[in-house]
């Protein structure tokens, strides 16, 4: 059983660091833009932003190979961008337009890309956990050495089906990495108020699933842990649990007044632990990039995000005939 380990800095090139910076910044700027479009009424319903948690998915994706699968909850925009889905298609799905990944029929919480092996986007807390194990089941059945990243939050970690899944995943040695994104609040309920034992990574112990806690504000620590987990799964040893401690800066969804935590708590996290700022400093102090280089990246990202917003505004509403399609294959 792996204990909580201190994150040792893995060897990483300037190029890789720059890529992580770029990927995390894309998510942050995309989400800020999504928040803005929500405010303008262009995005409706529920919209859960990933701001603050960027290092989690970027670090995990750093250890993936082609054909590996991922599935997550409704806080899914970051996961889609990180696995290479097109920002235009994601933003247009948020605005409910024809150009969206689900032709406007899924929305923020229900998006998929078969091409990128992104299996949703699920709106029922915890339901994606057995589904992710099922994807891994299919890979094991086909004996193709793929792994599935199954993301869920500290809130979902209290759903019964998670433990039903742990049991079967361990029983059948399924190649699934359970990534618990512990952002410390299940909607408005602090973890200490909902969870009897705070160390969720230990919850696999009863099933013989190794787990470890990871600093989710440090993309390199996440990447390092992801590599260990992938190695374990790909070698046929069964599931692995990563509890990634992270923090969401924004509310649970757009309509969350966030009265359950102080402004100072959020501010402190932003100022001291921001995952993007951390990498920025690494790039500058390691002389991998200059201020000007980073400004150029910022500009490039801004252009991608603005283009996605333009696309999402200009893409037409789905044809009314779409109401009746895709019900049966």
């Amino acid at each position: 059983m792996a204990a909580k380990r201190a994150a040792k800095k893995p060897n990483v090139s300037g190029e890789e660091l720059t890529q992580y910076y770029r990927d995390m910044l894309l998510i942050r700027r995309f989400e800020e833009k999504a928040g803005q479009l929500y405010g303008m009424g262009l995005i409706g319903g529920f919209c859960h932003l990933y701001i603050g948690q960027e290092a989690v998915v970027v670090g995990l994706e750093a250890a993936t190979e082609d054909g590996d699968k991922r599935i997550t909850s409704y806080r899914d925009h970051g996961h889609m961008l990180a696995c290479g889905m097109d920002a235009n298609g994601v933003m247009a799905e948020l605005t409910g337009r024809e150009g969206g990944y689900s032709k406007g029929k899924g929305g923020s919480m229900h998006m998929f890309s078969k091409e990128k092996h992104f299996y949703g986007g699920h709106g029922i807390v915890g339901a994606q956990v057995p589904l992710g194990a099922g994807l891994a089941f299919a890979d094991k059945y086909k004996d193709n050495s793929r792994v599935t990243f199954t993301y869920f939050g500290d809130g979902a970690a209290n759903q019964g089906q998670v433990y039903e899944t742990f049991n079967m995943a361990a029983l059948w040695d399924l190649p699934v990495i359970f990534v618990i994104e512990n952002n410390q609040y299940a909607m408005g309920t602090a973890q200490a108020r909902s969870t009897s034992s705070q160390d969720i990574y230990k919850r696999g112990e009863a099933f013989g699933i190794p787990g470890e806690m990871v600093d989710g504000m440090d993309v390199l620590a996440v990447k390092d842990a992801s590599e260990r987990a992938v190695k374990h799964c790909r070698s046929g040893k069964g599931p692995y649990i990563l509890e990634v401690k992270t923090y969401r800066y924004r509310g649970h969804s757009m309509s969350d007044p966030a009265k359950y935590r102080t402004r100072e708590e959020v501010q402190k996290m932003r100022e001291e632990r921001d995952p993007i700022e951390n990498v920025r400093q690494l790039l500058l102090t390691g002389k991998h990039a200059t201020e000007d280089d980073l400004k150029a990246i910022d500009k490039e990202i801004k252009a991608i995000v603005n283009a996605s917003a333009d696309f999402a505004k200009e893409s037409p509403l789905p044809d009314e005939a779409e109401l009746w399609t895709d019900i049966y294959a």
Partner: protein, 456 residues
Amino acid sequence: MATEILMPALSPTMEEGTLAKWLVKEGDTVQSGDILAEIETDKATMEFEAVDEGVIGKILVTEGTEGVAVNTAIAILAEDGEDVSAIEATPVVAPDEAAPAATAPAAAPAQAAPAPPTPDLTPDWPQGTPMKTQTVREALRDAMAEEMRGDEDVYLMGEEVAEYQGAYKISQGLLDEFGSKRVIDTPITEHGFAGIAVGAAFGGLKPIVEFMTFNFAMQAIDQIINSAAKTLYMSGGQMGAPMVFRGPNGAAARVGAQHSQDYAAWYAQIPGLKVAMPYSASDAKGLLKSAIRDPNPVIFLENEIMYGRSFEVPDMDDFTIPFGKARIWREGSDVTIVSFGIGMHYALEAADKLAEDGISAEVIDLRTLRPIDYDTVIASVMKTNRCVTVEEGWPVGSIGNHLSATIMERAFDYLDAPVINCTGKDVPMPYAANLEKLALTTTDEVVAAVKQVTYR
């Protein structure tokens, strides 16, 4: 360049709000993420954050203003160094009135009674096909075995399906033939293994999930409906769940309230699912083979009491029954009796008794409940002018209710009597033998209903 800061929508239902308090003043420099103002929505007081960096040029809506419409410019954000004094606010334009709701479809004008539809009456198998006698149990097993031989991606999972050979022996012999990779005993964990099977279907397999009974599938119903049935739609057609959920449904005998429930109407309500509920062994086999091949999630409702009943099954390769095609078991001219599953037992028995009294009943087995073969029912009712439906499920929101409404819409002028729904009684299933019998529908009730609609 200066940009307008607009009154944000801060909840799914917000159309206007109160600008409670400004936390910045003109001339302040703001960074992305800084709190600009507090806004009262229909739900709560929310902090409104800056998205872009810049200098607050002008505040256009003073704090305390109520009823500020979403998207109204409330301030001007200038870029650092820009001359804010020159900025003029563009006039506030109220957003367009919401487009009028799409016009409701006009009511169909009154017209002459419609002509009867022409249902598909092709026989289920060619004339002269040799037949063999089989139980429903054997037919179900043969269907699975044949499909598993033909497609490596088809596998069976459920409680006691492998080593125990099936709690009701439906999977007898399958472990021996296909091995433990494809015939998988699960722990008692319906929610979990149903979800795993849906995920496996997303991943390209074609699972058959056996529920020991459908009563236990209630533990898994979120995965069946929210994950299996809806994903094709939610993904814009990219991926769905080609799979079968099967097992005994409805009342068995003396097992009480929690183990005796008919889910036909529950699942038949869900777009994205297909639902079969066979009566005979040939339909059990032909429909299950179709279900396994179907690219959609199929609910396959069997019945424990029917497992041991024998029927004639065509002895032919690759025999399938299509979904959405009812079977007319008995032609008649005085009344149409529509049923499915074990309800057919009462329907056919009633038809025999009615014949003794000189009443000719046409008996239709729907076989599948999604899709439903309305045409066969409507054509028959247009001929007989009377209809009785038979099912074991509860009366409220029953399949019979739905058929009555459809018949009223499509064949109102042909009806000579109200449609009667014979259903299970509106009570949980009692244990006592006499009460259990009363709780289910009976042949005598069907006979009485037919006499009522035929005014005999």
